[in-house]
Symmetry: C2
Subunit: 546 residues, 2 copies
């Protein structure tokens, strides 16, 4: 497969075909919160710019030195961004250089990098993952760390630095851009929107790259399981999908595969669903289907679901307080040496409501929740395997109902997790095309010395050739959030819009998927064959979301 994919030539949007003839003009002005504006005096006021092919005044073509870094979890298409950027600056001038920083932001801090050769870049064209450079999650927020980045870009004499990352990395990039301008560093900073979760988007950036591929990889698996469930006819499959904050992936995969039930965290939060109510909701489905002698089903669960349940939010907040060293009962709690003891102690001393919620958990999961805490002392609710928790609770509920009715309701659960296999898959034709174009656009920003922008395209739901290049000020994506108790300017993660087109389409259909099986099996992603199968991006993008 790899040799064939490496030879794939993505279509280039018409507006950026001639890299020397792209002219940007204002699309619309950005409204920036004044407090945020105050943090970025060199970048504000600002506007979203749109690019078009037109005659520019002649610029002398000098070689460019551009740095690039991957940040955070891999997403399919990262290598294509690099290929697009490399081809662009080499086309601009054969002596241009692309410098890849290794193992994520750490490489940027320590100036650990390598100049990428034609062979390096050709070896990863249209392949998945971030294996060319590696990645990492180091945050660069402290002033001294930003200074280290400045040392690096000065040492490397960079015309531009391209940051391929998610919300946090692009937040950091906004601060780099401001600091560089402030200190008169000529290096432009360019952001590239990466995350399979699809929650890095705005009115101007319809979607982050990698989302399309990940959803296609997961939908293949879910579709296969749906077919298996309706072949074996004897088990419920609970499949957990990536997406801790937002449920875009679960929503898209539900639209692709038509499960009997797909839970959307944002809806659960809006409905103020409790864990118990959720279990009842699923058990009702099982019972209703059992009345038609159907003892199997397909249920999708976003990994972040439990954190969005109203009683779980309370429980978590209460546990975090309870475990603080300053809590009056702290010494008594520490004295509970056995995990079982500790659970009983906690159950006795938290609020009735939270106690009832925690008591629902199977003991070993509850004990695990109390044992493992993150470096800030918070309970690690993210460690809970939501699909296993729900399958276990539904089993107990169905058992109770069976006893009550004096008649067994058959219920067998299997669980699965669609995880890392979606992050480093071969990118879809959409993602290959999108990412190559993003990289090329980043190169054009470097040529035109544009700093503090995220590269993006409008009209992603139209044909590849007609995409409209955009320069979206990173600052325009920022808002304030409380993090670790402090107010911080960060890029907002965009949740599923319960008024948006994808969710509305889902709500219109999902009732009909409950009892009558309508499982869809999209099959493996195809790179050749009917255009209808190979070219279109996933539904969220086709609907023009964002």
């Amino acid at each position: 497969m790899e040799p064939y994919r490496k030879n794939f030539q993505p279509i280039i949007p018409e507006a950026i075909q001639d890299i020397g003839r792209v002219v940007f003009e204002k699309k619309h002005e950005c409204t920036i919160d004044s407090e945020i504006g105050a943090l970025f005096p060199h970048l504000v006021p600002c506007s979203v710019l749109k690019g078009a092919s037109a005659t520019r005044e002649h610029v002398e073509k000098k070689p460019l030195r551009v740095g690039v870094v991957f940040s955070g979890g891999p997403a399919p298409g990262g290598h294509s961004v690099i290929a697009g950027l490399f081809d662009c600056i080499k086309k601009w001038h054969a002596d241009s250089s692309l410098i890849g920083f290794l193992n994520g932001p750490k490489g940027l801090l320590r100036n650990i990098c390598k100049e990428l050769s034609q062979i390096d870049v050709d070896s990863v064209r249209n392949t998945g993952g971030f294996s060319l450079l590696g990645s990492g999650r180091t945050k660069i927020e402290a002033q001294e760390d930003i200074q280290k980045v400045i040392d690096t870009v000065k040492a490397q004499n960079l015309d531009a630095l391209a940051v391929i990352g998610g919300d946090d990395s692009n937040t950091d990039a906004a601060f780099f851009a401001e600091a560089f301008l402030q200190q008169g560093i000529r290096t432009c900073v360019i952001g590239l929107p990466k995350t399979i979760d699809g929650d890095l988007q705005s009115d101007d950036i319809p979607i982050s790259f990698g989302f399309d591929t990940a959803c296609k990889v997961y939908s293949e698996i879910i579709g296969n399981i749906g077919r298996d469930v309706s072949s074996a006819k004897k088990y419920y499959s609970f499949i957990r999908l990536m997406g801790r904050v937002a449920s875009h992936i679960t929503l898209e995969c539900a639209l692709q595969t038509h499960p009997n039930l797909a839970l959307i965290s944002e809806e659960a939060a809006q409905q103020e669903l409790t864990l118990k109510a959720l279990v009842v909701k699923i058990a009702d489905l099982v019972e209703e289907r059992a009345k038609s002698r159907i003892h199997y089903g397909l249920i999708l669960v976003p990994e972040g679901l439990v954190e969005h349940l109203v009683d779980m939010k309370h429980l978590i907040a209460e546990l975090n307080e309870f475990f603080a060293p300053t809590h009056p009962l702290a010494s008594l709690l520490v004295a509970c040496s056995k995990p079982g003891e500790r659970l009983d102690f906690v159950l006795d001393h938290i609020s009735e409501r939270s106690s009832a919620c925690l008591a629902l958990f199977p003991r070993h999961i509850a004990e695990q929740l109390l044992q493992e805490r993150d470096p800030h002392g918070n309970v690690q609710v993210s460690r809970i395997e939501t699909e296993r928790l729900l399958a276990g609770l539904v089993e107990a509920e169905i058992h109770l109902r069976s006893q009550k009715a004096g008649k067994e309701i058959p219920f067998v659960a299997q669980t699965g997790f669609c995880g890392y296999e979606g992050r480093s898959a071969f990118p879809s034709i959409f993602d290959c095309t999108y990412c190559y174009a993003l990289g090329r656009l980043a190169g054009i920003f470097a040529i035109q010395k544009m700093t503090g922008f995220m590269a993006g395209f409008a009209r992603l739901h139209e044909s590849f050739a007609s995409w409209e290049p955009l320069a979206v000020p990173l600052v325009s994506l920022l808002h304030f959030e409380r993090r670790k108790g402090a107010k911080k300017a960060v890029i907002q993660r965009v949740l599923v819009d319960l008024q948006g087109k994808p969710f509305s389409l889902f709500k219109n259909q999902c009732a009909s998927w409950r009892l009558t099986d309508s499982y869809q099996q999209p099959g493996p992603m195809q790179f050749w064959g009917p255009e209808e199968l190979t070219l279109p991006p996933c539904l969220t993008i086709r609907l023009g979301q964002g």
Copy 2:
């Protein structure tokens, strides 16, 4: 995808293109154990027959009534077998009928079936799973059950009954064939070799259907994870693969993806590996890689692995004895009401060796092992999630080594399971072609009133057109095994041959995969595109194994 796959027309091997002109002749005589022969007086002596296109004497074309049933877990290609069979008997005579029994052997026992229409069959051509008829695991061994099958085939007036199943179902089919002949029932019995595990094979049947597709689906996932592991560079992925008895799937997927380590149950058994030695083996790999500052890796584990470890075999045997109601300590054991108590009691009372082995287990897994037993009272070792057990034990071992060395060896494990998504996937072009040809061959057996044969093809590693049709006597696949304490004639599951070509190829390469990453990423199965990607079956088959 589905509409496109439904229109796919598989190539038909030349020898069976003209269904009226297939002539079978003896390929070789079968050597049958005399005790087994005594059970099948109407079927023995017998020979493997090979088919070729030749002029046959004219036979009057009468409509045929053929029954078909799925048995056991789904495998990709089952629907193609039905399509091949349907097309064949309809081509023979337009008034022929194909009767599908529902929900597996249960449908056969109770005569629950439906006649399949052209629309039914067209709706599932080249699709995965067994959703058209459902399946089940009911065994039909008792004389009275066989009598019920006889009632069914008489009531349905069947010319032939095609059993699409694994080793157990084809064993049952052999007994049906004998019983039918004995009682003068004219219904021919035809076996079709199904199982993704690939352990239903013989000198004449190179592979069961579904294996190729399942391995391709799993290799896609494993290849993606390999790319992710070498992108994130911070975790070991332990992936469990299907295959409780034989490790064919793990071996094939290892050849496709080149993990750092792939464990093969058959080799572990031959080497008399203990659980502790296995953990040391994996920890050595982790430590060696850590010396080169590599803190990630890819490890494949067949689900049956722990059952093949010498100390685990002893432990399991001992536990099964210990839990027998006749055991002298039974009443004391029952008195241990808490799971923890029971574990301590067991640890104190089993042999030192088994106690040491069980003590290695994390307590909650050990407790689970003692709590859950199958209907025969045996511990359910199959419930152990091998990949989680090993990841946990390796973590503990690495922790110990770090302490000893006074220097931390970083180790983070992620676990995954390649399971049911491989059973009901869209069949590969190989499996579509193989299964359609198998179904057509079964139809030819029905036309020629051949009973007690399994349909098969030789030369599966050659071009589709040149495959050689075979009729393999079901009886020739039987051997004696002890099951539930009694000697039973069953079809032997074929293990990985440690002298065979696939394993030799693996052994020649696997040392070079340990430290230097050579992960391969086969990508998603393609139905269109370069023939090199779409047509060839997996390596096990290409090597002419079997």
